[in-house]
Amino acid sequence: MRPKDLSSAAILRQKAEQQLKDLQSRTNSLSSETDLLKLIHELQVHQIELEMQNEALVVAKEKVEIAEAKYTELYDFAPSGYLSLTKDGDITELNFAAAKMLGKNRLELMNKRFVLFTSHDTRAIFNHFFDRVCTGEEKQTCDITIETEGNSPIYVTVEGIVSPNKKICNLILVDITERKRLENQLQGSLHYLKNIIDAVALPIFVKNETHQFCLANHALCEMFNMPLEKIIGTTGFEYLQEDQLKVFITKDKEVFETGQENTNEEVFTDVKGNVSIIVTKKTLYTDVMGTKFLVGVINDITERKKAEQEAIRFTEAIKRQNAELIDFTNIIAHNLRAPLVNISLLIDYLEESKDDTEKRSLMGMVKPILLDLMSEFDVLVESIQVSYDKKIKKDKIILDDCLATILKGFEIQINACGAEIKHDFTKVPVLYFPTNYIKSIFSNLISNALKYQSPDRKLIITIKTEKINNAIVLSVADNGLGINLERYKSKIFKIRKTFHKHQDARGFGLFMTRTQVEAMGGKIWVESQLNEGSIFFIEFKNTSI
């Protein structure tokens, strides 16, 4: 400001001299006293004017001095360090804060090279920064460490700009040691936290309100089969299965909306296609800024689930075997004992009898009773063999061919009653099952349909295979007499149970069929309406070899 003041003072003087010149020239031409008086008056006014101007100047000067003192004080005692360096990097001016940072008094620091106070590892950074300050017009910034003897290092952010005349570089130093310390502490805490959650075997994650992962531990990365950096910041849209992600996000939303903890059992498929069953517990976390986060902990229960299912299967197998055993005991008690009772009675009577004709007639009964016993015995033995022969070989059954063979055996009966047999194996043409069993199953079901046909209509038997829920289902439907299921439902597949008055009904066929189907892990059931017909269904389990 001063040079400008000076130049305006010079202008003022020029003006004044000019005015005086004008006055003198006019004075020379004064011709009257009136003019003289006028001149004196003007001079007096001018004098007062000058005095007033002088007074204003004194006031202005005082103001400037006060301002200068104020700014000098502000400069000297500012909390940030102010430094002016020559282009060579020598200190020409600095305030107390800067001096304090450099650990010496101001006088000692004059003309010292600033760069010598920077730490070795940040010196290059500073030099680069200083070059840019000197050559550019833009403000530059860098972080450096100041190291002086006997003092602990000070971390500073330096801002610098070159002066308008490009001779001086002005720097501002802000002490960020405390901030740095807090940052380090925070970093340390984060590192500590990361180590802890990485040490936890359960997958842990944190999501923000837009469902992006903000944090994930090592176990989660392993579970996802993905590196951490590919998880953080994503919602999982790119690598999780759509339907599963939908479930996860629905639960996230519930927790964000209600603030309530949520535990959910879900299915998870990783990028490699491994499927597991997990339980995810999600809780809401709100930080000091009011930002909501979701903290999730995952428990993989696949193994437990497997074990549970195994236990259920095992229990079921035991239950089934137990039921079979009870059935079997009953069968032995009733069915095998009955013919033995007859034989013992027969012998009693034989012993008592004195009549030869009677004796002959009694003797004649022995053979049929024994044959009865034998056939019953054979069925039971066969059923045990079927039930326990788990290693029986499965054959590749071409259903069309297999059925054709069976139907050949029934040719006479079919022709005699004019039955129509339809079949459709297009949906499942091939089956893996023991040949003898499938033949026996076809024979029993077809023979039943023939045996129990309605006298009122032509018999139509429809045989087909279908795929229902991944299982193969064979059905044999007829339009025969039908079965009163209300009465016989519980007995239909049991031994020596019949549901029609029929001389050939012995109650072995469906019992054998059920035994064969169940021995192979399948199921058999029936739907029927009296006088409309029956449909027998067989579901084959695990039909590959």
Binding site: N330, A333, H334, N335, R337, A338, P339, V341, N342, S344, L345, L346, D348, Y349, M365, P368, I369, D372, R487, R496, K497, T498, F499, H500, K501, A505, G507
Partner: protein
């Protein structure tokens, strides 16, 4: 005195033949009718609920029969019983000595006794003489 009647209900034709012989030996002077299916007996009883002459005095009922077993017969008989004008003694016969069946018989007031086959001549006399 009216002719006494025994209904023998069992699907085992050999057992029926032998029982017929046994009953004859007891000098039973009445009539013995055999049924191989309890459904037929039930139908007969339904048709003759009020006919004292046609109704039997004794029913010898096998438990293990293919179409309708002895238990099912007894269930049906229970609903029919109030209309029957004659007191009929029912003896359950079984080739098994199953404790389960025995317990079940004991709770059934319609059954006079549970007999395990074979039936001795003495037991048969006891039954017939009432």
């Amino acid at each position: 005195m009216k002719t006494r009647k025994i209904f023998l209900v069992d699907d085992d034709k050999f057992f029926v033949m032998l029982m017929m012989k046994g009953i004859n030996k007891t000098n039973f002077d009445g009539q013995t009718v055999s049924f191989d299916d309890s459904v037929d007996v039930l139908e007969f009883l339904k048709e003759n609920v009020g006919n004292k002459d046609a109704l039997p005095d004794i029913i010898l009922l096998d438990l293990n029969m293919p179409t309708m077993d002895g238990w099912e017969f007894l269930e049906e008989y229970k609903t029919l019983y109030p209309q029957i004008v004659k007191e009929i003694r029912i003896y359950v016969m079984s080739s098994s000595n199953s404790p389960f069946d025995l317990a079940r018989v004991k709770t059934n007031s319609l059954v006079s006794d549970y007999i395990i086959k074979p039936i001795s001549q003495e037991k048969l006399i006891e039954i017939i003489s009432g």
